[in-house]
């Protein structure tokens, strides 16, 4: 056993008393920290939304310029002309969200509880596709679902396409250029956004809770219904939001995998803005979409009682 034999230098002795004021500084620190980032969001996010609101009630033309005339009829015209695209957007996004939940939950559960030493590998495989541009991957579905390809042939042989055609999801013996292809693409694109929050909330569940439930006479299915699923609710809520919101505004899948009959509201906004250059209508459409989503999201959050999403 050694002991300290030499006296090391003492803590520095302060010579003079610093003014008390010195320790009070830092009252303004949070504002300095917030300023640049918030300024960015105000100028390039909030301000544009306000600009857009004003554009939506302007009239005029590209050549003569636009003026605010409080022309609310634009909203009415836009809605009456494009309501099918709105309905389609909500339907497709909702279907994709439900499919993502049904497909994503087992995989998230598998990673959280059953993967063992494969956990890291499966996680990598879930995240890795992100690194290939999503446009390239979405284009690959064109190959997978190609007319006369193996997938479509198999579905034809099993008469699955007869059922989906009867339901109006597909047309004839094609999958490409039908609602099914668009929903399939949306589901594929936003699946990781469902899996990751689900996994995060499932992973937090103590496995002993399953044992406790089993010990208290719960069958595996009851354990899932009464213990696991309720505890994973935060993940379900943020997963569905992260899927539904971007899916409802998406126009890539409809454009690449669909046809003119599967156009969603995103397609309309895009073409109004970038091709037809009818800015008031485009602004009104995008404002309606934003409002609709905020309403749906608020209602959903209220209903599911989860406030801490961020």
């Amino acid at each position: 056993m050694t002991t300290v034999t030499e006296a090391p230098p003492l803590a520095p002795a302060p010579e003079t008393k610093p003014p008390r004021q010195a320790r009070k500084r830092g009252r303004w620190t949070p504002y300095w920290l917030l300023l640049p980032g918030l300024l960015w969001l105000v100028v390039f996010f909030a301000l544009p939304v306000i600009y857009q609101a004003s554009t939506s009630v302007q009239t005029g033309s590209l050549e003569e310029g636009y003026k605010v005339t409080w022309h609310f009829a634009t909203y009415w015209d836009a809605l009456s002309e494009y309501w099918p695209q709105f309905v389609r957007s909500v339907l497709y996004a909702a279907s994709a969200t439900v499919l993502c939940l049904l497909l994503g939950y087992p995989l998230a559960y598998l990673i959280a509880f059953r993967a063992g030493r494969w956990r890291n590998l499966i996680m990598i495989l879930v995240i890795a596709p992100f690194f290939t541009s999503f446009l390239i991957r979405t284009l690959a579905w064109k190959t997978i679902l190609a007319d006369g390809g193996p997938v479509v042939d198999a579905l034809n042989t099993l008469h699955v396409l007869d059922v989906t055609a009867w339901l109006g999801w597909t047309a004839g013996d094609r999958v490409l250029a039908t609602p099914l292809a668009v929903v399939c693409g949306l589901t594929y694109n936003f699946l990781p956004f469902m899996i990751l929050p689900l996994y995060t909330s499932l992973e937090r569940i103590d496995p002993r809770l399953h044992e406790a439930a089993n010990d208290l006479y719960a069958k595996p299915s009851t354990t899932f219904r009464r213990v696991t699923f309720p505890l994973s609710m935060p993940g379900v809520v943020s997963g569905t939001l992260l899927t539904f919101i971007p899916a409802s505004g998406d126009y890539i899948n409809s454009d690449l995998l669909g046809s003119t009959d599967t156009r969603m509201v995103g397609n309309v906004i895009q073409s109004q803005f970038l091709r037809i250059l009818d800015y008031p209508t485009a602004a009104a459409l995008s404002f309606i979409l934003m409002a609709a989503i905020l309403v749906i999201v608020t209602l959903y959050i209220r209903k599911s009682g989860t406030e801490d999403l961020v």
């Binding site: 879930v126 699946l191 505004g249 995103g266």
Partner: protein, 266 residues
């Protein structure tokens, strides 16, 4: 009977693996078709095996230019969003201030809004200001939508940090600057890195917002989009496959190094 039992036990695993296959199928197709030698402009049906495209990935005009532009934008956007986002996250966790609720909503809203809405609004602003669309407008837009994600990632990490660690540093003669550099920053680093990685991926792969605000500038996703109308060159599949492989290798390597290091120390 035993098979039914086995199926019951492993139903979750089978369903999970099915989903995994669904997720990876397009990547398999992309890889396979990077060795295709298509007839005509479209690379959607298998013709014959070829390594032509792999030998000359930049052989298509505009492809590698767009790729390098995307990388540049992603780097700068990551840097900007990470810096601004980290500052906001620290302010939110560490300080009390007025209008906290408003600040939180301003950060939450960009994530709760379809991209097409943000893209259209921002374009309205740029048009009104008469801004020249191109590199700078893309960069501004990317920093804007990456910012919130960085805030969330860093905030989570800083919140789980024990405030006593910083007090301990102060107690051990580290002044405010030293405390921040030697203790706060290293401990918050994984959160900041996660935020930066996310920002990079989001920026690099963004199409919708870029499409609205790029003018005639072509990023890699925009190149792919354009080529989808005209016929996708095989080189696009080559780049897609290469990025996938590089990403997987990097992650696996970092995991292996991490494992070995912790085993050596144990």
């Amino acid at each position: 009977m035993t098979f039914v039992n086995w199926l019951k036990r492993h139903l979750v695993v089978l369903a999970g693996l099915f989903t995994l296959a669904y997720l990876l199928l397009p990547n398999v197709v992309v890889t396979v078709f990077s060795f295709n030698n298509p007839k005509g402009r479209f690379n959607y049906t298998w013709q014959e095996f070829s390594t032509e495209a792999w030998k000359d990935p930049c052989g298509v005009s505009g492809l590698c230019t767009s790729l390098s532009l995307s990388l540049q934008i992603a780097l700068w956007a990551t840097l900007g969003a990470t810096l601004l986002g980290t500052m906001i996250a620290f302010a939110l966790v560490r300080y009390r201030f007025r209008a906290r609720g408003a600040v939180n909503s301003l950060i939450f809203l960009p994530m709760a809004m379809p991209e097409v809405v943000m893209a259209a609004s921002l374009l309205t602003l740029f048009l009104n200001m008469g801004a020249q669309l191109g590199f700078w407008t893309i960069l501004i837009a990317h920093i804007m939508f990456c910012l919130s994600f960085v805030v969330v990632a860093v905030k989570a990490r800083v919140m789980s940090m024990d405030p006593r660690l910083e007090q301990a540093a102060q107690d051990l003669y580290a002044g405010p600057v030293q405390t921040f550099l030697r203790v706060t920053l290293p401990i918050a680093a994984p959160g900041i890195a996660a935020g930066a990685l996310l920002a990079f991926a989001l920026s690099f792969d963004d199409f919708i917002i870029t499409n609205f605000n790029a003018g005639s500038t072509v990023t890699f996703p925009m190149f792919v989009w354009g080529s989808a109308q005209r016929g996708t060159p095989v080189q696009v599949n080559v780049i897609g496959t290469a990025m996938f492989v590089i990403a997987v290798l990097l992650v696996v390597a970092s995991l292996l190094i991490g494992n070995r290091r912790s085993r050596q120390k144990a």
